[in-house]
Amino acid sequence: MSKRRLINILLGTGRFLLLSLFLIGVLAPIYWILVTSFKTDAEIVNVNNITYWPDQFTLDNYESLFNQLDFGIYLRNSILLSLSSAAIVLIYSILGGYALARYKFKSKKMVIGFFLLSQMIPSVLLTIPIYIIYANIGLINSKLGLLILYVIINSPFCLITMRSFFERIPVSLEDAARVDGCNKIQSLWRIIIPVLFPGIVAVFVFAFIGAWNDLLMGVIFTLSASNWTIPVGMKALIGKYNVHWGELMAGGVIALVPTIIMFAFVQRYIVEGLTAGAVKE
């Protein structure tokens, strides 16, 4: 018995150590981006003395990012495109998700399959034709063109996720509200929206981050720096022969901040939303 106990303790410790190691491995690069972005160039490239905390704390990297490079424009574009595409996707998903959850029609399965299947088309099959179409109707190198693509890319998944959230709200809840004297609008605001809140948050964040992180569409469909988003600008920075590491890391921090904040607030809703969709059916 005591031998088994010893084994259990050893197993437990090993497990703990393995997980801690993985945790450190996940966090280390993020820490490194943050710390490096506050170092001076001279400190970053000093091979003989790697520092784990800035010797000389500086904001120069951020300053030159905005003053010498066009990061202000990229940031504005990214915020604009991500917010607006996420808002549109959210409206789509609420409307479509409600319809697919509540209205029973014969071809419902087909409609859902239609959205799921569109997610499986390899992106390579779409880029060339869409590029040619865009070139013909003048949507290359325009924010509107990118906005449409972000809505398209993110809406099927969000719509189906939203549907599974609607399906969790029993119709009887709405009926009960009506019996208690709520009109349609009141029942929407007081009953449906609060219950649906996790779904709304999850879908919005998914759509936002999907657009915020996109590189493929940005690289293909924008030409001039005035239309670039942060990932495209970052990619250009990385590709430079003479990279200023501090600037690059500062750019990384700026790109990271919204995602991490959003993630911290909503991660439990997102997981809930995902598993709600996965467990259903």
């Binding site: 084994i7 490239v45 399959g113 390899p122 590029y131 449409i148 398209i152």
Partner: protein, 316 residues
């Protein structure tokens, strides 16, 4: 009560009401149409644009009026040594990637599942989910910085441990696959545990008790209760991933490819981007895309069939 008495006296009331309800619900269809229309226009219709693969495409003439040339561009593609290398690279990359990255979330979720402390478990989960939401371009940024010759952390560690010179990891094609795999494990393992943890929570606790009374230790329980419990989830995900073996992640590969290694590690996605978009050779790029799409479709159909056979779960 009130409504039922109403029915008794006024038999026409009920059908009228349900009729109205149907009419009202028809409106719900309108809600989903914008999404359907946009998906048709931008996801389904463009696929027909791949007809350029069979055309001597002229952008001023468009899809409809460009002359057809049959399979000329496909023949060209399969005679091109670089294109063949690209196809081989794509398969090698995604197979090796699958082999190494697939077990990681399973191991991680088994470790997490055995944890007794809920707080530690929550912390690990939250933190390891995070990288999934970080853009590949940022990953590429810090990998490039950490492997830099001038003050890169990894090179310093390498020199400290093994001595010798600094290595240009990103400019050496031998390190390309390992970098892809490691960054993938870093970014997605945590996130991919979600589905396995959900499967694990579905395992009946009584099975563990039964196993314990039969004298099975924790290791044996994991082997004989936990693993069979999540096997269906493992099989489905493995099949789904196998169905996509002709695809790689553009955002990831594109970020780690550079001039030094491009000729050796190029994959279909980056090839189509470079030939099609940058060099405007639409037909050959479309031919490569169609080739990939065709085999992807067959693979997905086959794996879906297999999944339906083994686990009763299939997409269609």
């Amino acid at each position: 009560m009130l409504t039922s008495t109403n029915h008794a006296f006024c038999p026409g009331a009920k059908p009228k009401q349900s009729n109205r309800r149907v009419k009202k619900r028809m409106w719900l269809l309108v809600y989903v149409t914008p999404a359907i229309i946009l998906t048709i226009i931008f996801s389904y219709l463009p696929m027909f644009g791949n007809i350029t693969a069979f055309q001597d495409f002229d952008i001023t003439k468009g899809f409809l009026k460009s002359p057809f040339v049959g399979f000329m561009y496909f023949k060209k593609l399969f005679k091109d040594r670089h294109a063949l290398l690209v196809i081989k690279n794509t398969l090698v990359l995604s197979t090796v990637n699958l082999l190494f990255t697939f077990p990681a979330p399973i191991i991680l979720s088994l470790l997490l599942n055995e944890l007794k402390s809920d707080r530690f478990k929550k912390t690990v989960q939250t933190i390891t989910y995070m990288p999934h939401f970080i853009s590949w371009v940022i990953v590429a940024g810090f990998v490039k910085q950490m492997t830099a010759l001038d003050g890169g952390l990894i090179n310093s560690i390498k020199i400290f441990l093994f001595g010798g010179e600094s290595v240009m990891f990103l400019a050496d094609e031998r390190f390309f696959l390992p970098i892809i795999i490691i960054t993938n494990i870093w970014k997605e393992s945590g996130w991919n545990t979600i589905i396995f943890l959900a499967a694990l929570s579905g395992v009946d606790p009584q099975l563990y008790e039964a196993a314990a009374t039969d004298g099975a230790g924790r290791l044996k329980q994991a082997l004989h209760v936990t693993l069979p419990g999540i096997l269906p989830a493992i099989i489905i995900l493995l099949l789904l991933r196998t169905g996509r073996i002709f695809e790689t992640n553009f955002d990831q590969v594109y970020n780690f490819i550079n001039i030094h290694i491009q000729d050796k590690v190029d994959v279909l996605e980056t090839y189509v981007y470079r030939e099609g978009i940058q060099k405007a050779k639409y037909p050959i790029a479309a031919a490569a895309g169609l080739f990939q799409g065709f085999f992807s479709f067959i693979l997905i159909a086959v794996t879906n069939k297999l999944s339906g056979k083994f686990t009763d779960i299939s997409i269609w």
